[in-house]
C-alpha cells in the first residue's frame, strides 16, 4: 500500500505524549468517542440478525433455541446497552445529516431543521412499517 516512506534518521522533535484516555478530559471529546463507539453495537446487532437468519434457515427447533437464548439475562443486558447506543447513533446521525449534505432548492439552501425533520419522519414511518410486517403474522 502507498504509505509515505520516512528516512531512517529523521529528526525527532519533542512531542507531548497523549494519554489513551484523552477523550475523558472534556465532555465533547467524550461524546465524540461514544459516538464513534456506537459502530461496535451496530455491528453486534447485525450479527444477532445474522444469527436469527441462520436459526430460521436451520428450522423450528433452532429458532426456538434462538428465542430462548435472547431471554437469558446476559443477552438482555447486552441488548439493552446496545439499544441505547444504537439510539445514540440514530439521533446523532439524523442531526448531522444537514451538515454533511447541503441541499439547495431553487438556489436557496434548505434549512437544517427541514432535513432533520425529514429524517425523523422517515424513521417513524419505516419503524411503523417494520413493526407492522413483523407483528402481523403471529
Amino acid at each position: 500500500m502507498s504509505e509515505p516512506h520516512y528516512t531512517l534518521y529523521h529528526p525527532r522533535w519533542y512531542r507531548r505524549r497523549v494519554s489513551v484516555w484523552w477523550w475523558l478530559q472534556n465532555r465533547s471529546y467524550t461524546g465524540f468517542v461514544l459516538r464513534e463507539l456506537t459502530s461496535v453495537f451496530v455491528a453486534f446487532f447485525a450479527v444477532v440478525y445474522l444469527w436469527q437468519l441462520h436459526a430460521v434457515a436451520q428450522g423450528p427447533d433452532a429458532y426456538a433455541q434462538f428465542l430462548a437464548r435472547l431471554r437469558t439475562p446476559r443477552l438482555l443486558a447486552l441488548d439493552t446497552v446496545t439499544f441505547l447506543f444504537v439510539l445514540f447513533h440514530a439521533i446523532t446521525w439524523f442531526n448531522l445529516t444537514p451538515k454533511a449534505m447541503v441541499v439547495r432548492l431553487r438556489g436557496k439552501r434548505v434549512p437544517d431543521w427541514v432535513i432533520v425533520a425529514q429524517n425523523y419522519a422517515a424513521w417513524l414511518v419505516l419503524s411503523g412499517l417494520v413493526a407492522f410486517v413483523l407483528l402481523r403474522g403471529r
Binding site: 461496535v40 446487532f45 429524517n119 413483523l134
Partner: protein
C-alpha cells in the same frame, strides 16, 4: 489500492450508517427487548419462514445486515487509530475490519441464497 477504493468505503460507511439509524432501533427494540421480555409475542417460525420466502424480504435482509457491517468496519477502524493510537497498525486493522464485514456479507448472502 487503498486510495482508489476509499470513496467506495466512504459510500458504504454512510449508506450503512443510514440503514442502521433508520431501521436498527425498531428491529432491536422488538427482537432484543419486546419479544424476550414478553411485552409482545415473537413472530412464529412459520410466519418468519413465510416472510423469508419472498425475494423482497431477502434483499431487505441482505441490505439490513451487510451495509451496517461496512459502516462498523470503516468507523471502528478510525476509532482504533485515534482512540487507541494504533496508527502504526494501519494495514492490519484495515484488513481485519473490512475482512470481517466481507465475511459477514458472504455468510448473509449464502444463507439468503440457500434457505428453502
Amino acid at each position: 489500492m487503498m486510495r482508489r477504493i476509499t470513496p467506495l468505503l466512504w459510500l458504504l460507511f454512510s449508506a450503512g450508517g443510514t440503514v442502521a439509524a433508520l431501521l436498527f432501533p425498531v428491529h432491536l427494540f422488538l427482537t432484543g427487548l419486546a419479544f424476550p421480555l414478553g411485552w409482545l409475542e415473537a413472530p412464529s417460525y412459520e410466519s418468519l419462514h413465510r416472510l423469508l420466502m419472498h425475494p423482497v424480504t431477502r434483499l431487505y435482509l441482505f441490505v439490513l445486515i451487510s451495509l451496517p457491517l461496512f459502516h462498523w468496519a470503516h468507523r471502528f477502524r478510525y476509532t482504533l487509530y485515534d482512540g487507541l493510537q494504533l496508527k502504526h497498525l494501519t494495514e492490519l486493522i484495515a484488513v481485519l475490519c473490512y475482512g470481517a464485514a466481507l465475511l459477514g456479507t458472504a455468510m448473509t448472502a449464502y444463507l439468503l441464497w440457500t434457505i428453502s
